[in-house]
């Protein structure tokens, strides 16, 4: 069983009356609500958290792409992955991912992913989401009717750019290139593992099955709501005669661990409320641009990251409701262990991406939750799926071939920095803590 630490990088300081006063957290949220000085602190805080997850033994650290969004401050996750490549050594860099229809030409993604793969010594997971309706059609102006076709063409171009031995011509409908000749090429051969983050479009399951890609269902509504999607996915895999390997399915789950169940509620309840009621306050008119979902997906009525049903489902929900509906798995290490075992087994997923930093959660709480999970929960779940081989994780360089960053200067940069300040902290100190 593999565990990944997933950061959305939310803005932690939306006003209390955000939901009442503002139209949407995404697409047309006023820019004045973002303070770049606060943003500076947050980016560094969040990278610290991802680096901490690396040292705590998570298999992967995940970043993703959103645009004009106050709960996802990474228009370019590749920049974050680049920063993490140098400051982490163990965890895989799971970029979930780049919305490849948005890049012109899409070989930009092939190039940047190849750079990340080479820089990190083969630790990259390449995620290719279609992207949400908010990100692709409203923020980036893609015509919804042709988005999926453009995505598929971009995918074909990127895979060919990674795998063809020689320079080639590409005469696509959306991209025409006389010389495709990728420099650098990826370190992992034939290319980094491809994971497809999805929100429940039925076509994506066929796409994953046909290409042997891992499917990552990204929802904020927990494993109980996800059962229908997981069942649909496994049904497609079975119908196509594919191996029912749990490692071909990833799932995102909000997780919060404290000393006891009561302590978990005291610590995390306000941040859950912030996440579900402020961060996910999305104008419903942005959720499903006409043509973004196929008729089949509409009829299947599957709920993705943000859905119309999702937005009413959480009106007035309390901590207890969040837990009972399975939106969050939270409580003492024992409670979380039982909840996640149930989630993993009922969905049959081999990769769990967990959101530990939720909404407005400050770094000390995110760290506590992460550490308790890593020490007291993760070891007990490691042994799940012993009979299956994970064919979807990166194949990195052996340690003796891996280059390491030069040692950090051990002197604080400024004389006035205290020993506990950010610039004086060393990764080694944290491991020793």
């Amino acid at each position: 069983m593999k565990f990944h630490w997933f950061h959305l990088m939310p803005y932690r300081f939306l006003p209390d009356d955000f939901k009442q006063k503002y139209h949407s957290v995404w697409v047309d949220i006023p820019r004045s609500l973002y303070d770049p000085k606060v943003g500076h602190r947050l980016y560094n805080e969040y990278l610290d958290e991802l680096e901490f997850a690396d040292r705590m033994g998570f298999d992967g650290i995940c970043v993703n792409e959103h645009h004009q969004n106050a709960y996802g401050l990474m228009p370019s996750p590749n920049i974050m992955a680049g920063a993490l490549a140098r400051r982490t050594q163990n965890a895989n860099l799971v970029v979930l991912g780049n919305s490849i229809a948005l890049y012109n030409p899409p070989i930009r993604v092939a190039e940047e992913f190849a750079m990340l793969d080479v820089l990190s010594g083969g630790r990259l997971v390449a995620g290719f989401p279609v992207g949400t309706s908010m990100d692709t059609t409203f923020c980036y102006g893609e015509v919804p009717a042709t988005l999926r076709e453009k995505y598929l063409e971009a995918h074909d171009l990127i895979i060919r750019a990674w795998t063809e031995p020689d320079c080639f011509c590409f005469n696509g409908k959306y991209t025409k290139l006389r010389y495709v000749n990728l420099w650098p090429r990826p370190l992992q051969q034939p290319h980094p593992p491809v994971w497809i983050p999805g929100g429940g479009s039925v076509e994506t399951w066929d796409f994953c099955a046909d290409h042997d890609y891992q499917y990552s269902f990204l929802s904020y509504f927990g494993y109980k709501q996800a059962k229908k999607v997981a069942d649909g996915y496994w049904e497609v895999m079975a119908r196509k005669g594919k191996e029912l390997n749990p490692y071909s399915l990833g799932f995102a789950q909000v997780v919060a661990v404290a000393e006891t169940d009561q302590q978990a509620e005291r610590d995390y309840a306000p941040h859950m409320d912030y996440f579900y009621n402020r961060c996910l306050h999305v104008h419903v008119g942005f959720v499903d641009a006409p043509g973004y979902r196929s008729a089949n997906s509409i009829r299947a009525g599957l709920t993705g990251q943000i859905t119309k049903s999702g937005s009413w489902k959480r009106e007035g929900l309390t901590w207890r409701d969040f837990i009972e509906h399975g939106y969050i798995v939270a409580g003492s290490p024992r409670t979380v262990l039982e909840g996640l075992r149930d989630a993993i087994q009922s969905l049959r997923c081999g990769h769990l991406m967990m959101l530990f930093q939720i909404g407005s959660m400050p770094p000390e709480l995110a760290r506590k939750s992460t550490e308790l999970f890593a020490r007291e929960v993760m070891p007990h779940l490691r042994g799940l799926w012993p009979d299956h081989q994970d064919r979807w994780s990166p194949k990195r360089l052996p340690p003796e071939q891996a280059a390491l960053p030069a040692a950090f200067d051990s002197q604080p940069r400024h004389a006035d920095n205290s020993a506990t300040s950010r610039s004086a902290r060393r990764p080694a100190d944290e491991v020793a803590q």
Binding site: T137, G141, P144, G285, A289, G291, R293, A295, I298
Partner: protein, 260 residues
């Protein structure tokens, strides 16, 4: 009367609504498409044989995937006219249909005899941006589309069915139609008509509901600037759905213009 017609190119089946007798008149619908209860078409049928085809992707017209841009849509209408044996015809287009009618008239000046553009799309003014119709919630559409969002006609056209199956069917059809419309209108309803409108030779009537809040009447100025023979009329007490809100007045204006 509704008929299904196979185009000779075999690329499309076309759902055509026909009313009245006499010389043909082509009506091009807006982004929402025909409702099946389009009284104004019957009224226009008092003077003409009204031919109102559904664009591929709408209703029972097929082959929407073959139409990806304005040029494809214009060729589709040319093909339809060829098949119907129509050399030159008056064309009335509403909203998105007005944009396509103008493009049709610009693409071949011998094909469109007179042109009526009803609250047409096709231009963009930075100072008067057209509201994002695609992002509007269903419940907020009446206020954009109708002079009086609480009028009977607004309620009749904008009430969603209660039955969940009917609701899903409506959602699927609406999504299919607007997905097609998005090829001409998303994210900004300007596909370069301003470069081509100078070609339009047909005498043109611009007809607008005075309280159109989707494409405000100020847009008439852009069309007048680009089209040689162009007059402009406003209908009071009507919004973007002028022909549904004021069918009698609408038809009187159109027929008066076409008979001149």
């Amino acid at each position: 009367m509704k008929t299904l017609r196979q185009l000779s190119s075999a690329r499309h089946q076309v759902e055509v609504h026909e009313f009245g007798r006499g010389e043909p008149l082509l009506f091009l619908h807006g982004a929402g498409g025909l409702t099946g209860l389009d009284a104004f078409l019957e009224l226009l049928g008092r003077g003409f044989k009204v031919i109102a085809p559904h664009l591929p992707g709408y209703g029972e017209s097929t082959g929407g995937e073959l139409i990806e841009d304005v040029f494809d849509a214009v060729l589709f209408y040319h093909q339809l006219m060829d098949d119907l044996g129509i050399a030159c015809v008056p064309v009335v287009g509403h909203s998105m249909g007005g944009m396509l009618a103008a493009e049709l008239a610009a693409s071949d000046i011998h094909r469109v005899q007179r042109l009526v553009l009803v609250s047409p799309a096709g231009f963009w003014l930075d100072r008067n941006p057209i509201p994002d119709f695609f992002a509007a919630e269903f419940k907020d559409l009446p206020a954009l589309l109708f002079h009086d969002p609480n009028s009977d006609v607004a309620k009749f056209m904008m009430t969603a069915p209660d039955d969940p199956q009917a609701l899903t069917a409506m959602y699927v059809e609406r999504s299919k139609r607007l997905a097609m419309a998005s090829k001409f209108l998303w994210p900004i309803p300007d596909r370069g008509l301003k470069k081509r409108a100078y070609r339009i030779a047909a005498p043109t009537l611009l007809l607008w509901g005075k309280s159109d809040r989707l494409i405000p009447p100020i847009y008439a100025g852009e069309f007048q600037r680009h089209i040689r023979d162009c007059r402009f009329e406003l209908i009071e007490g009507a919004g973007h759905m002028v022909m549904y809100e004021k069918p009698e007045e609408f038809c009187r204006c159109v027929l008066d213009f076409l008979r001149q």
